[in-house]
């Protein structure tokens, strides 16, 4: 899999692989060096979707395609709920995350981590950060209300957790853990997700630390 540790969708795929016990051999796609715009990568991923996964003859790209592939490849019970109502809830929250959270989490990552990696003299755009935080806060408030009395978004652990845990993780490592802490239900949900074990390991450990992002370090998931 080619991806980047400071890229949210790459991290969702690593997290899914860890959750489902799929061995992933990751290869760095250096977004700070614009490798995703090069012709070699575009030959694999014509629209620049990241990450890109290959197995045998299969090459596909983007979290939307890779996550369900890993879910099935990992065997065992699918993370997708069977009941229609839970499936609907799962996908509603995935859509909320994709369109109402991801752009703002990306702003935090760009302004506070990635741009300074490319240019040490870069001054983060505080107005953009503040706007992103405000937008995230609005969505967290709604999610917190929904999670009152619920363990997970779709009753059981599902794809919704695979999407949302990286959003909260990146808020935390960019120094905005207070956004989570002030929403008790959301915080309990995040603690619950982080404490899940697959064997002796927590799949959440597949999510990169700030130092790993700055060191452009993509770890193997086994």
């Amino acid at each position: 899999m080619r991806g980047f540790p400071g890229h949210v969708d790459t991290c969702k795929c690593l997290y899914m692989a860890a959750e489902k016990g799929v061995k992933i051999d990751p290869d760095l796609l250096d977004l700070t060096g614009h490798e995703d715009e090069g012709s070699a990568f575009r030959a694999l991923s014509p629209f620049g979707k990241i990450p890109c996964l290959g197995e045998g003859d299969l090459v596909t790209s983007g979290a939307a395609a890779i996550l369900p592939y890993l879910d099935i490849r990992g065997g065992g019970q699918s993370l997708a709920p069977r009941k229609a109502a839970r499936l609907g809830q799962q996908n509603y929250w995935i859509e909320v995350g994709q369109y109402r959270l991801l752009p703002h989490v990306n702003t935090l990552l760009d302004e506070q981590v990635l741009k300074t990696m490319g240019d040490p003299d870069y001054t983060p755009d505080q107005a953009a950060i503040d706007a992103a935080l405000e937008a995230i806060e609005q969505v967290f408030t709604v999610a917190d209300r929904f999670l009152d009395g619920r363990e997970y978004f779709a009753e059981d652990f599902s794809f919704a957790e695979i999407h949302w845990a990286p959003y909260l993780h990146f808020c935390e490592i960019t120094g905005h853990g207070d956004l989570i802490g002030k929403h008790a239900n959301l915080k309990q949900w995040f603690d619950r997700v982080k404490s899940r074990k697959n064997g002796s390991r927590s799949p959440c450990d597949a999510l990169p630390s700030l130092d790993q992002i700055k060191g452009k370090e993509l770890r193997n998931v086994a």
């Binding site: 629209f47 939307a64 395609a65 369900p68 099935i72 229609a84 909320v96």
Partner: protein, 263 residues
């Protein structure tokens, strides 16, 4: 709120709940779905197509997004982040294309739409993702500039550079789909969610007067000709295309309901 159609333009809609079963007819679906959306809104169309393909009776009503009804307190009580469309069945509510399409599919009749094979599932989702991210925003621009803008303002000035940019941006994903369809009857071989996503966008391109973009690509054109006569995936004698809102429906803010007669 007990009825999704209790406010705004939708309040003028007659619900089939009142007449449901009044003639002693038994239907396989326990409840009729309520879909609240807008005829010029791609995500609403996707949900309508899914309901037809899965043989789910649906009462549709218009959420007038041109009048800001999606930002009203009544709608936010149903969909707290204002995501359109919204669906109700009995006491279950969900909003947004992804939640609604998957809910209807799982509730629907007959075999399941998503492939069980991992590689095919990934391919379905890849093409759905390309539709949503590489095509949707530009189709929305064309629909806004050429249909919705003039509906709101009779002297609306079309942003011609925006229209040109949208047309240009659509070339690459349409070329990619045309290549993909050179070898397949439907986008990944069998009919799937990918066809539903693309049907909504291609249909809106035609209604926005941009059919040339499609007609110039023979494999997409041939695929859409098949879509136009495609009977429901669940085997009912209904064609989704026939119930999609045409330009006059969009301008009149009309959305078809779905009635299934051949259980």
């Amino acid at each position: 709120m007990s009825d999704l159609f209790a406010f705004g333009r939708a309040a003028r809609t007659e619900s089939s709940d009142a007449s449901y079963g009044s003639e002693g007819d038994m239907k396989k679906t326990q409840y009729v779905l309520q879909l609240l959306g807008f005829p010029g809104h791609a995500d609403t169309l996707k949900c309508l197509i899914t309901a037809i393909e899965m043989g789910m009776e649906t009462d549709s009503a218009v959420l007038d997004i041109l009048e800001g009804e999606d930002e009203s307190g009544d709608y936010l009580a149903v969909s707290p982040l204002g995501i359109v469309p919204a669906l109700k069945e009995a006491d279950y509510y969900v909003s947004g294309e992804s939640g609604i399409m998957s809910y209807i599919e799982a509730r629907g009749l007959g075999k399941r739409l998503p492939p069980k094979n991992a590689a095919l599932l990934a391919e379905q989702n890849y093409w759905s993702d390309i539709a949503c991210t590489e095509v949707g925003p530009h189709v929305n621009t064309l629909v806004k500039e050429q249909i919705l803008g003039p509906m709101v303002d009779s002297v609306y000035m079309v942003n011609t550079s925006g229209v040109e940019a949208a047309r240009k941006a659509l070339e690459a994903p349409l070329d990619a789909l045309d290549s993909q369809l050179a070898k397949n009857t439907f986008i990944i071989g069998n009919y799937s969610f990918a066809d539903i996503h693309w049907t909504a966008y291609i249909h809106l391109l035609y209604e926005a007067g941009e059919g040339e973009l499609v007609d110039a690509r023979p494999n997409i054109k041939a695929w859409f000709d098949r879509i136009r006569t495609h009977k429901s995936f669940s085997g009912q004698n209904v064609v989704a295309y026939d119930l999609l809102p045409k330009l006059a429906d969009i301008k009149q803010k009309r959305l078809n309901s779905i009635s299934i007669d051949d259980y």
